[in-house]
């Protein structure tokens, strides 16, 4: 299940909803991404997330489908916020549920790596020196690439 929204989300509620009334799930892994208060050595005032409505949801659904093909997952939740966020605020949530922990861990990491590489979001930072579009980190492409090796 994927959602793109301006509102905040509740990681505990999402985790609990995933395994409520189920008895087949042994492992739930979650990732929460947060806005850090500093960037390029400057204090961050705010971060604004722009996205491509429609394509974003399609890409996230594709990534979820790909994860479900690679691992046997009981459930997947991806929530990504857009709009203006302050330091300390939540940006993204990924939750994976599986019978065993290895699948849940790997799938959560895969979802984040692919989301960072493929989902059409763009971050703009407001710092003391002005507005700056966030540049992608090479390590994000590397992170996604490793899932296609051996």
């Amino acid at each position: 299940m994927i959602r793109v929204q301006t509102a905040d989300f509740d990681p505990g509620a999402e985790i609990a909803a995933l395994h409520a009334r189920r008895r087949d799930i042994g492992a739930v892994v979650s990732f929460v991404g947060l806005v850090r208060g500093e960037s390029h050595g400057e204090a961050l005032t705010s971060m604004t997330l722009e996205h491509f409505p429609g394509m974003t949801e399609r890409e996230l659904e594709r990534i979820e489908r790909e994860a479900r093909t690679r691992w046997r997952l009981d459930d997947v939740v991806v929530v990504h916020r857009v709009g203006e966020l302050k330091p300390g605020e939540r940006i993204v949530l990924v939750v994976t549920a599986a019978a065993h922990r290895r699948s849940a861990f790997e799938a959560a990491e895969f979802l984040m790596d692919y989301l960072k590489m493929r989902a059409p979001f763009w971050k703009r930072e407001l710092r003391a020196s002005g507005e700056h579009w966030v540049e992608p980190r090479d390590s994000d492409d590397d992170a996604a690439a490793r899932w296609n090796q051996g």
Partner: protein
């Protein structure tokens, strides 16, 4: 053909969405970009360094060799930075 621009590509071009009649020769993403560059101003700036530009046709990531047709929705944007 419907063109969409996001993030700093949008800011440089100066608009987020437009309908264009691309010339017949603009049969690929690369050829379409070459034609947009000829429009000068913000377009020339936005497409000055093509290593920094990504493209989606009808909401699918594609490379510059991908075909484009009348009626397609073509989106131009920087490398994504979500998560």
């Amino acid at each position: 053909m419907r063109l969409l621009y996001f993030a700093w590509v949008r800011q440089m071009v100066g608009c987020s969405e437009e309908i264009v009649d691309a010339p017949r020769e603009a049969e690929t993403v690369g050829a379409l970009i070459a034609w947009l560059q000829t429009r000068g101003g913000g377009y020339a700036d936005a497409f000055a360094d093509l290593k920094r530009v990504r493209v989606a046709v009808n909401q699918d990531h594609v490379d510059f060799g991908a075909p484009v047709r009348a009626g397609d929705e073509v989106a131009f944007f920087p490398p994504v930075t979500g998560g």
